[in-house]
């Protein structure tokens, strides 16, 4: 286990009491348990409050564009086998702007973990409805109530047979850390949707609201049972299950890569003899 101090301490730009702070704590804890030194960790993020996370942790960091945490994460994971890859971003970034990448990543199944800080609101841009905001919930930009039905990423991920699907709660730091550890160890794409209170803009899904509702999945839940998983994935109301919802066993993308590809790509140089031979083929 790597001492947690190795991941550093940083001043954050988050509001006091923000759920992101606990998630950051849990992630460090998980990395320590995973025995990953900072330079073996690579985190890609998008843009938003959550997306600032990798700046508050010693690691390799690619803080890219809004909605685009997944494409660089997959690109990096495919190119570089020396690092363990995470993508981390907010619900708006991940399921709004980045929805198409989410769909494709679930199908592609590159080994990496996707940590979504789901505060059910656009935090950084001051409180607009996000894809996970409850229908009818009013915001400054949706004064007549959010018109769309909320997105349930966990249910869609189970439908799409994502090999590791979990729902977690920011305030349950140890529980969350454990889920992240499991996610990182599971081959293939792992989704961890993390319920995260936003104390500044989300006055509905508060700590109290979550506390009343979240309960940990116990031994009786069998994540390898798709039906059970689907049932738990859809439970989001008076009661919200947290824990590993689903575990499948799809073949990860890496196992389908052409065998001649020498990864990490950084050390692969072009075989000029082979190329000369290829050129001959054009004669």
């Amino acid at each position: 286990m790597i001492p947690i101090e190795q991941y550093g301490t940083f001043e954050t730009a988050w509001c006091p009491g923000c759920g992101n702070i606990s998630i950051n704590k849990a992630l460090k804890k998980a990395l320590s348990i995973l025995d990953l030194p900072p330079h073996k960790v690579l985190i890609c993020s998008g843009i938003g409050q959550a997306a600032k996370s990798p700046h508050y942790l010693r690691c390799n960091c690619f803080n890219g564009l809004h909605g685009r945490s997944l494409p660089p994460a997959q690109g990096a994971a495919l190119a570089n086998t020396e690092v363990t890859v995470f993508a981390e971003s907010g619900d708006g970034c991940s399921y709004g702007e980045g929805g198409n990448h989410f769909l494709a990543a679930m199908r592609r199944n590159v080994t990496m973990s996707y940590l979504v800080h789901d505060n059910q609101v656009y935090g950084l841009t001051k409180g607009q409805a996000s894809p996970t905001t409850a229908q009818g919930q009013a915001t400054k930009f949706q004064p007549w109530g959010t018109p769309s039905m909320p997105f349930n990423p966990v249910a869609v991920a189970v439908t799409m047979d994502v090999p590791f699907v979990a729902r977690a709660y920011a305030a349950e730091v140890d529980h969350l850390a454990d889920i992240i550890v499991q996610a990182a160890r599971h081959p293939g794409f792992a989704l961890v949707d993390i319920l995260q209170p936003c104390v500044s803009f989300n006055k509905v899904n508060t700590y109290a609201w979550y506390k009343e509702r979240c309960y940990k999945l116990g031994q009786d839940h069998d994540p390898s049972d798709w039906q059970q998983a689907m049932h738990k994935a859809q439970e989001f109301g008076d009661r919200i299950p947290i824990g590993v919802i689903y575990k499948g066993s799809r073949q990860p993308y890496e196992q389908r890569i052409v065998s001649s590809v020498r990864r990490p790509l950084a050390t692969s140089k072009p075989d000029m003899a082979a190329l000369a031979d290829i050129l001959e083929g054009y004669a």
């Binding site: 030194p37 073996k40 390799n60 190119a79 001649s260 692969s268 140089k269 000029m272 290829i278």
Partner: protein, 563 residues
């Protein structure tokens, strides 16, 4: 040139196999030592319609396509109708006996009689063509053997038989077509189109990651890469969309891969934010943009040079870049190779602009001397001082040490926000200024490295034709024609269109009596850029935007109009 070259056009519906005939014939011609320029004109559909495959061939250098037709292979009646007005005096029409040649000289081929099955008709057509062009049958026989090798000996000999019978039939026919002068060269040449050459240039430079989303006319860059991926160890991934393609490539590049991203204008339009990210994070990426006519979906399978402005200004905010615009398959290879190097050296997005005409245009290409290629810049894997490593250390050149994550204790931190030298997000406005200055300084380096435009032709010419990208050949041919008419003419070809170094070309422009910019777009975008950067105004411009490649005839007519 007019007399010694032959323009062969094969016309028919999509799906009739005219590309098979064309490729076969063109390759045989190259093996026989001829020079060719292939022009493929096709519709945005899979079956039906009317497509053509044109091969302009000569024992001497040929530069571009030509409208007039010497040999028309009509796979359907429509072809005769549509192209009869382009037939030259000596033209012959080759068609199935069921097709009315409308009185044009030629051959009515009894395909049914010559072929046991319709699928052999292409080979039969080649037999007739071999005869018409007085080509040694061995070029075809070799190609038949190589092509059908995998399908077994039986198929090979069946095809050889059809070929031989068609050839024999043709020999019995009167309609002789005067033989072309035989080429003198005997060295091997490669049969490549622009997109093949781009893919091979990228591979030679070490490209080992390609993410793309299919789009005509760029897709064959990806397919050529895929064809060789196994042997070259390249990872090619079809992304869910162009945004993913560019961002995936940037992630891979950051993580140590050498990346290339092929696309076309509409797809590139979606990458604009990603280009800005490459600029901000200083992540090397080579984007190949194969142009087609816009706006929007435009004419998906035709050619244009309308996206120069788009690549020049893609991305919000100011940051440096380089834009190459090869004019021939050779240049496609060399410039893509160089683009890979420049992208890494200056840690910037670099563009290779091609277009449908060049992308699909096969030529006889002198084999590349792989051993003579200059070394390509590469990122460092690790450092002695991991603790102090700063991805964006402020340097005089603007280039900071680029390390690969995971190979040592250093941390590589990239940020799309403005950042401190160690890569972390900042709102310190003094740092902001230092970082902008640092990034923009790389533009000076890119400018120092810029490839000079190629000047060819008469010194102090009466007329200088400037051009870029695929318009090179047609401009060269125009100059040849004008020189034959006694006009001192030169061509100035910009193979790199950005940055511009005025010292490299202003004196040449000044030395000319009259200067004309030739571009395959409506607004003459390079002329505008040159005026913006240097104040220089061309005497006239020639533009084309009907979806067809610029030709010498087009230029000559426009020059007359402008006079």
């Amino acid at each position: 040139m007019p007399d010694t070259c032959v323009n062969i056009v094969i016309g028919g519906e999509a799906g009739q196999g005219l590309v098979t005939v064309g490729d076969f014939l063109a390759k045989a011609l190259v093996r026989a030592g001829y020079e060719i320029v292939v022009t493929q004109d096709y519709l945005s559909r899979i079956r039906g319609g009317h497509n053509t495959y044109a091969i302009r061939v000569s024992h001497e250098q040929v530069h571009g396509p030509r409208e007039s037709i010497d040999l028309l292979v009509a796979l359907d009646a429509q072809t005769v109708l549509m192209h009869r007005s382009d037939l030259t005096g000596r033209a012959m029409v080759l068609a199935d006996e069921s097709i009315d040649r409308l009185g044009h000289p030629g051959l009515s081929i009894p395909f049914k009689a010559l072929c046991p099955k319709p699928m052999f008709e292409n080979i039969a057509a080649l037999g007739v063509l071999a005869r018409m062009l007085c080509l040694d049958r061995k070029w075809f026989e070799d190609l038949i053997a190589e092509t059908f090798h995998k399908k077994g000996d039986e198929i090979v000999s069946a095809n050889l038989k059809v070929f031989a019978e068609a050839l024999a039939w043709a020999e019995t026919q009167q309609a002789g077509f005067s033989c072309m002068p035989a080429p003198e060269r005997t060295e091997k040449r490669l049969f490549l189109h622009g997109n093949d050459a781009i893919a091979l240039g990228a591979l030679a430079a070490g490209a080992n990651f390609c993410s793309y989303y299919p789009m005509t006319p760029s897709s064959s860059v990806a397919s050529t890469l895929i064809e060789h991926a196994q042997r070259m160890g390249m990872l090619v991934e079809q992304a869910e969309d162009e945004i993913a393609a560019i961002n995936m490539a940037l992630g891979a590049s950051y993580a140590g891969a050498r990346v290339v991203v092929p696309t076309s204008g509409g797809g590139f339009a979606l990458m604009v934010e990603g280009i800005s990210l490459a600029g901000m994070t200083e992540t090397p990426v080579v984007v190949v943009l194969a142009q087609r006519p816009g706006p929007a979906t435009g004419l998906p399978t035709r050619t244009e040079q309308g996206d120069l402005n788009l690549v020049l200004y893609a991305g919000h905010g100011d940051f440096p870049r380089a834009v190459f615009a090869p004019g021939t398959p050779e240049q496609c290879f060399e410039m893509t190779y160089r683009a890979m190097d420049q992208a890494e050296k200056w840690q910037s997005p670099v563009f290779v602009l091609t277009d449908q005409y060049l992308a699909d245009s096969y030529r006889a290409v002198t084999p590349f001397d792989l051993s003579a290629l200059p070394p390509v810049s590469a990122p460092d894997l690790t450092t002695d001082k991991p603790a102090g490593y700063e991805r964006y250390a402020v340097t005089e050149s603007g280039v900071s040490p680029r390390l690969v994550p995971g190979f040592g204790e250093h941390l590589v931190v990239l940020d799309s926000d403005e950042h401190t030298p160690d890569g972390h997000i900042t709102e310190d406005l003094d740092v902001r200024v230092r970082m902008v200055d640092k990034r923009m300084r790389k533009g000076l380096g890119l400018k120092e490295d810029v490839l000079p435009p190629i000047f060819t032709g008469d010194d102090a010419p009466d007329l200088l034709l400037a051009c870029w990208g695929s318009t090179f050949g047609p401009a060269l041919e125009t100059a040849q024609v004008l020189r034959q008419q006694g006009k001192k003419t030169a061509v100035l070809h910009f193979g790199q269109v950005y940055p511009l170094n005025p010292d490299q070309f202003l004196p040449l422009l000044a030395s000319a009596g009259r200067t004309v910019m030739v571009e395959g777009n409506y607004s003459c975008q390079l002329a505008a850029l040159i005026r913006q950067e240097t104040g220089y105004v061309f005497g006239a411009t020639v533009s084309r935007y009907d979806g067809l490649p610029v030709t010498a005839r087009h230029i000559l007519r426009q020059l007359e109009k402008a006079n």
